[in-house]
Symmetry: C2
Subunit: 365 residues, 2 copies
């Protein structure tokens, strides 16, 4: 990291009386005023995990000194994103007597944010949650937009709720301690935004990938802000994913199948999504929408980001079965997010199934 | 039951684009058109319990012949209203490939309705649910208004969501097989409506209690309709219980404490609520709001309905502790629903705590 920190910036998710700010900047976990602004007056529960808590929970504790603050530290990893782990959060909420005038603070990556958010969504039928994302993936994607969930053995995020946070506070300092593999996984979601919605941003990423991989603070701030801006725009249009929001699932139907097939252990979510981006591009190519050169651009960017280039051989039947559990299924047909061109995604249930089958045969069978 | 059935009647819960009908009448579980009207086209899961399924699941199955219909039969009883039982509903939803174009049908009493409703609220972040209440309590109260939940060891309904059904279909025929004890428990909620909102209805209940206890179909239809009408009005005003809806919790803070203290085994919910109505009346009396004669009227109606007249001796400290878990707590003070007069409830966090303490000392210590 260089010594110069980019100036903090604030976006707004415009959802009427549930609008909320996204603050992006360095040092924000120590910024009491900003933390307090999103919080009601009652007892607080910080939910974090064993990796993040030793690094950053102390900052939050210090910033909120004087408030009643309980802590719930969960094991780290997607395989713990279960009802059983969720029960520990409920137990902590009960023990801490957190009522509807209290709140949850989700300090961690996507798994912590999803579980803490779902606990807040369902504790006493809904209490406030403030998202404090500490990974690139959580800062650009999972902490924003109110999707919360835990996994079911049959598939990812099958149990969940829409529950908007009262604020998202993304402290860019936390990216300094992020393992390279996690940084790269986050870049998969950043690339997704470019592919699905913004060809200029895609070109910016191709040009600036080196700065992002070397963690240039200004480049990271820019990537987080531009990603959040696209997400904010789409979520404001379609909070409950009845329409355009499904675009943000580009790569995710394939990705979730890969994660489930490998037991939520081997592949990071972002790695599986990156693979899904490639498979979506390949399918779009077989449908005649993308040129071979476009697919090559996607593959190259993913490879330069250090993300996996080959999916696991999970088998054709298993892949189909897992994709059929996707939440976008309607009347038995898996709807996919595909690419009309680079920078323009489309949700389709009406594609030629042979194109998908050919891709699955070539890549995962 | 007499041979003459009251004509079906329909109320509407007016919640804008989430408005839905409540149908009340005999034979409705066999009415395919009415069942179908609230259902999307995908796979269905009927959730019921071991007591109700043998009696009524066949009617629903026959009425929906030709539809893809899965079944999930749970153990009967409030003590099974847990995350562990809920997991069985999720498993059935996964096995049945119920997606967002599918629906849950909740066939049973309050426990089934709450659990099936919560499963629907959280499966794939929300799918449709149709409530088919088969107990008086569920028909007049729990099936209407979108509150769903499971219990946590620390207290009742602590884990839940607001999720409105697409329809409530109350088949009065099901009341014919209801055990007397369950019928009486349901009357507790009916009495609640009179006490909190409608002195005329209260007088009607005092006059007509005998007909209700002998299961006169016309009287039951009237009691269900008038109760649902009050509930519909209040829910439309305040869906998420930020204001007047809390009135419908009259007797419930005490009642939940009794249920929790007795492990959700000995007392039926309605029995605990009946006791809570008496304790709320007593507290209101000590505050100088109700005359002794008013309290006597409440006690007499509850006694004539065959509902418990004495709470368990759970102890002052335990009672306080359990009441402090109530979802209406703000800033450490338990807000109570109290009675300004018979027919007019009020939510208060500002009462003289000595009045509550005196009642608890006299009744539960």
């Amino acid at each position: 990291m260089t010594a110069v920190s980019p100036a903090p910036r604030t976006l707004t998710i415009d959802l009427g009386d549930r609008r909320y700010p996204i603050h992006i900047g360095a040092g924000l976990l120590s910024d009491r005023a900003r933390l307090e602004a999103g919080l009601p007056g009652g007892p607080l529960l910080v939910v974090s995990n064993e990796t993040v808590a030793p690094l950053y929970l102390g900052r939050v504790r210090a910033a909120l000194a004087g408030r009643t603050l309980h802590e719930c530290v969960l094991p780290d990893g997607e395989r713990h994103k279960t009802l059983a782990t969720l029960e520990r959060v409920y137990d902590a909420l009960a023990a801490g007597r957190v009522h509807r005038d209290g709140a949850v603070l989700a300090l961690g990556g996507g798994v912590v944010g999803d579980m803490a958010g779902f606990a807040a969504a369902t504790w006493q039928r809904g209490i406030a949650v403030v998202q404090l994302p500490t990974t690139l993936l959580a800062q650009v994607d999972s902490s924003v937009g109110g999707k919360t969930a835990v996994n079911h053995p049959a598939g990812k995020n099958l149990i969940g709720a829409f529950h908007q946070p009262s604020a998202v506070i993304a402290d860019l300092d936390t990216l300094a301690t992020l393992p390279d593999r996690e940084l790269r996984a986050g870049l998969a979601e950043v690339i997704k935004y470019g592919l699905v919605r913004d060809a200029d941003f895609l070109a910016w990423l191709e040009a600036g990938l080196g700065r992002l991989l070397s963690r240039d603070p200004e480049a990271l701030a820019e990537a987080v802000e531009r990603s959040c801006r696209i997400k904010a725009e789409i979520v404001a249009l379609d909070e409950r994913e009845s329409g355009p929001r499904a675009l943000l699932n580009l790569g995710h139907t394939f990705g979730h199948a890969i994660e489930a097939a490998t037991g939520f252990r081997e592949w990071l979510h972002g790695e599986a999504v990156a693979m899904g981006l490639v498979l979506a591009a390949e399918t779009s190519h077989r449908l005649g929408w993308l040129a071979a050169a476009d697919v090559a651009r996607v593959r190259e960017l993913v490879a330069r980001a250090g993300l996996p280039a080959r999916p696991p051989r999970i088998g054709l039947e298993r892949a189909r079965e897992l994709m059929a559990l996707d939440k976008k299924v309607r009347a038995g047909q898996v709807r996919l997010v595909l690419l009309r061109r680079l920078g323009e995604g489309v949700v389709s249930g009406d594609y030629d199934a042979a194109a998908l089958e050919a891709v699955l045969r070539a890549e995962v069978a």
